[in-house]
Amino acid sequence: MNGFGDAFAAAFALIVGFDADLVEIVGLSLRVTLSATLFACLLGFPLGAVLAVGRFRGRGALTVFVNALMGLPPVVVGLIVYMMLSRTGPFGTLGLLYTPTAMIIAQTILVTPIVAALARQTVADLDAEYYETLHSMGARAGARMRTLLWDGRFALMTAALAGMGRALAEVGAVMIVGGNIDHVTRVMTTAIALETSRGELALALGLGIVLMALSLALNALVMGARLSGARLAHA
């Protein structure tokens, strides 16, 4: 089996041919993953800052819990969200199962612990560094959190990227709650799983190469933004 040559040929044909189905699938992958990453950052950055700076009972336990949630299997998240959104589940009347919205919800749950745990580490490190200064200025916890989050903005982008990578790569959760419905909830990873199950291994691997290229492009974009941002900040 000369699968790899065939795979690159398939990937090349898909990209060069600007295959309409592929464009749709890539578009939906980006929409679901970027939305989930956005919501995960909105939840995870403040949560991480609270865990780093806050002083309250159970903080240690909560930190361990959030860190442990980084290992959540996507299939388990998918099952939980399926049971929530199923017609017989508590939110069944919303009719969200098998929609991109359900996929965004599942991936947000999957990614938030990653973003929160990495944000907590970033903010905690900075807090240790600037504790004296901020305290002598009499900064309250809220102000300290905002300052430290701002100060760690470049490290936080890495946290966001780590979360985005997880969302872009996972298949278990979106397969269950999205259903891999053609033209509705089919994304890159579920398309790869489908072509594999059809025995079209070269096409599946070709799609995998396209997904890698996409991930590469997104990371390069953020790196570029980060470099120019850092230049501005130090100007």
Binding site: R31, L38, F154, S197, R198
Partner: protein, 286 residues
């Protein structure tokens, strides 16, 4: 002091950028914003999807009715369970006994034969269990068990897995004690199981449609076929709107009526892969 929420705050701008990109991407049909005639969800076995049948016939239906069909192809066992949770409008699977139980339990309105094909036993071309010399599927399975040649079982309560278990029972062999030795339960779909069988040169039972459309056959080929026990009947069921109030009963019935009509039945018969007909319509005229 610089603030996270300041006007030119960088993380804030990153989040805004993310938000804009996320929103600017074309919004695909969520919820009810589907085609003109709305949409229904079909809980389905995988063979009808993997073989390309839906790609061939569903556009014809959508064109005449405007009703969009959203297929969730998961294997018969899971499709039945999802349908019991009311997560679908129509059920299209291949396990007649389980389908009749589904209807008797009040989840389905009625079950109708839709089409059939058959199962085939595939295995490595050197055929270590000498299956090709046997004259019945019972004898073929006994030969595999006797020689302890690797056999890949779906192990996922799918329609094919239900059939496989009934065939082992017919051969008076209980392979479950040998699970993990020559009897390998993959717990996966037909395609994944075929990939595994292809990789380890194992025997496996597959429906003919998935087999013909499967592209990674490797050294596998059909070794036993044609036994009447290998008959594979597909059925269609409308999910009961009394049990599941959210069911879109009218378009669901429109879809079923079309599949059972001359138009639907001839569309099924017309679908071919490599010159071979994959499904044989057998809806009985009312």
């Amino acid at each position: 002091m610089a603030s996270f929420y300041s006007k030119d705050g960088y993380p804030m701008r990153l989040l805004l950028l993310l938000a804009l990109v996320a929103l600017a991407l074309p919004a695909y049909a969520d919820g009810d914003a589907g085609a003109d005639g709305g949409f229904i969800v079909v809980q389905s076995t995988t063979s009808t999807r993997n073989s390309g049948l839906y790609d061939a016939i569903l556009p014809q239906f959508t064109e005449t009715t405007g009703i969009q069909i959203r297929v969730v192809a998961v294997g018969t066992g899971q499709a039945l369970r999802n349908a019991r949770n009311c997560d679908g409008d129509v059920l299209l699977v291949h396990a007649t006994a389980a389908e009749e139980e589904f209807v008797e339990d009040g989840y389905g309105l009625s079950r109708t034969d839709l089409m059939y094909n058959d199962f085939v036993l595939v295995g490595p071309s050197d055929d270590p269990a000498r299956v090709a010399d046997t004259t019945s599927i019972n004898a073929a399975l006994s030969a595999i068990a006797d020689s302890r040649a690797p056999f890949a079982s779906r192990g996922d309560d799918s329609g094919t897995h239900k059939k496989e278990r009934s065939l082992w029972a017919g051969a008076e062999v209980d392979p479950s004690g040998d699970s993990g030795t020559w009897y390998r339960e993959t717990g996966s779909g037909m395609g994944a199981t075929l990939n595994i069988a292809s990789g380890m040169n194992a025997y496996t039972l597959t429906d003919r449609a998935t087999w013909i459309a499967f592209a990674n056959k490797g050294d596998l080929r059909i070794l036993a076929e044609g036994d009447e026990d290998l008959f594979n009947q597909y059925g269609i069921i409308a999910i009961n709107p009394v049990r599941c109030p959210a069911v879109k009963a009218t378009p669901a019935q429109t879809f079923i009526d079309w599949l059972l009509s001359d138009g639907g039945q001839s569309a099924i018969a017309a679908y071919r892969r490599d010159g071979q007909q994959l499904f044989f319509p057998n809806a009985k005229p009312e």
